[in-house]
Subunit: 436 residues, 2 copies
Amino acid sequence: MKLLVIGGGAAGMSAASKAKREKPEMEVTVLESGNFVSYAQCGIPYYLSGIVEKHENLVHYPIKEFVENRHIGVMTTKSVEKVNFREKKIYLKEGQEISYDILVIATGASPRKNRFYGMKNVFFIRSLDGAIEIRKHLHGNNIAIVGDGILGMEMAAELAIHGKNVSMYSKHSSLFPMVDSRITGEMVDYFRKQVNVNLNSMVEDIQENDGTLRLKDSNGSVHVHDHVIFATGITPNTRFLEGSGLKLDETGLIVVDDEMKTSIENVYAAGDCATSFNRITGVHEWHPLAQVANKMGRVAGSNIAGKIMHYKGALGTTLVKLFDYEIGFTGLTAEKAVKNGFNPVEILVQGFSRAKYYPGGTLIRLLMVYDHDTGRILGAQICSKDGGAWRLNTLETAIYSGMDMETLFYNDLGYTPPFSQVWDPIITGASLSMRD
Amino acid sequence: MKLLVIGGGAAGMSAASKAKREKPEMEVTVLESGNFVSYAQCGIPYYLSGIVEKHENLVHYPIKEFVENRHIGVMTTKSVEKVNFREKKIYLKEGQEISYDILVIATGASPRKNRFYGMKNVFFIRSLDGAIEIRKHLHGNNIAIVGDGILGMEMAAELAIHGKNVSMYSKHSSLFPMVDSRITGEMVDYFRKQVNVNLNSMVEDIQENDGTLRLKDSNGSVHVHDHVIFATGITPNTRFLEGSGLKLDETGLIVVDDEMKTSIENVYAAGDCATSFNRITGVHEWHPLAQVANKMGRVAGSNIAGKIMHYKGALGTTLVKLFDYEIGFTGLTAEKAVKNGFNPVEILVQGFSRAKYYPGGTLIRLLMVYDHDTGRILGAQICSKDGGAWRLNTLETAIYSGMDMETLFYNDLGYTPPFSQVWDPIITGASLSMRD
């Protein structure tokens, strides 16, 4: 039995490892288009800023580990040109063809490219190979980041912390609109002191001029930078599947069920190239996130080996550290809740991260969304310089379990002055929901 | 309608405030035996060590706030001698009698005293009044703490951090047996470098000698200290109820239902003097913890005002910071799970608090207990120098919700390198449970 995995990222290596461990007699081969497998994509901003000294530190396991200890074949720098599902064969760009019995597609996603792709000192980031290239050339001090998504914000903050003069271009009218401005206000003020933020601003043109880049924005201003890094979203790597007969959704994602099975027998997909679904609504969604990709890969590998696992969906939980701020969001916003037939109520809470008399505490700003009719918690967003990330994870766990606000009020969170107030903002939020 | 509350601690003030807010026409009076109401008992170790400079910082609200803004009568230094439930009257030690329509008993708990009580430089800690007395007299450098419970361990660590020479006497054969030694090993080693720990050691005798105390332990050794602080457990303040007809359990706790009603009509009890119950087993337990007391008080006050609330039980969740270690436990140990008819499995996990390549991470040691037959998570214990406390609260939330290990595996915790690994120890633990 030959298992072929296309893509050596989180989902692919997770699927390959799980299948091989559960069914050692299976012949497992992974094809990766880059030079590395099993590396930490989320660590790239820290590699670019220099916090992470060597790119090797971002590699979870060297290829040797997979080949020698896990007995998984790994072929790097191999790009798949097309797949013939009837003949169970894939064709490499290099001309070679490889047959399989079972296929896992875990090709991930790539940065959305634009007409400036290929210009000197203009970068599009996603892979470790790409990051190594960028760091090699990142000599200038004056850096533009285009896009205020997670990756753009992270890179801007990290490069600013490490002494670069960073400018950000956002098409939005307020910075980082993924999180409610009522809780990010303080963070945004701080961010704007460290980074030159241009709002309502698209890149109209970039011209090279004597080793520098002249960036013209949609407001007509011209700015001079040494480098421009685009972080304007990603797109699933599924173009090679067009016309292959495999079911894709309208955004190009491979449609999978909760066993990671695609529309074609013996073909699985997992990770950023495939659909996930929302734990609360059950609706198909895209969750291009490392922890989700790992689990989807695990599910695919386990099912291939005959040990059935059913993926239970995700909440799109996202954490990010920007300067000293811990920011996170999970589940539904009120707007999305309405679209899904809920009757949402928002609760905004401010409280301290520690007992007021204990040093080092900061304000926690928390937004909770629950359904008025059932009390069920639907979503949460947080911003704080102390204890924000894992409070968000605590709320995420409540949401994932289907807890209602009344139960959350009684939820027996531990208390000690260095880590919370007696009435933690989470409990205060729950108690506010019980007022009416 | 006259509501009388005995005890101005967390439960009492919470009950009084909630009842008054919900039913402003009610006449609410609080009797407190000490000089302070609504203060942070859990802050006492930090007040003794000097982190908290003034005792006023530990007072959540001054009495004025209750009297002037909340219109609640507060009488301090009033001790209740006895209650006549038939006549609805309480009798103060000072001779006065006060009648009521509805009574809340929230008298809390006091340190267990022994024959050394009253000796100069020998202290028993629980109240803010007591802590003020101690700090006034804590001139010596050489301090003995007797008892390795939460309070004893906290005081020992805080006083050692602040330059005192601290000795600890524990009757146990290993230090701090509340938490599994497999996860506290590193912490205990560190603790023993900072504090002189005497195990298997009871205090046989204390003699005053020229301003110092000569402590003879049960091994026959004699140690010289400036002060001895006993932290050898607490006992509910319900002695004044003996023979009153109110139902107490065998340990002296007032028996209450989930509305905080006692065995006598119009008499409620809440906080450390009353029974709580275990969220998992439903069995009556004692949870003398600030966050539980606050909620029990809230429930009592709300029900008194006619807005019915049902307490949902606690897990005994406890967090403590000892030096740089964040330690916590919640729910059932394997031993307790067996006693309650479960078929427990223990999972021991070690992992990092942050991505390995991100600076500042430390090892997380985690013990999870789940029921083999249903997969339900029953308990957790954690020890780490980074991110331990709120990981414990995340697991607590899973336990409180009744989550099973399979769902915990899919639980969509947010991930970013500064706050976790892609496979957080929590998820790794859950995945280990799915191996068989």
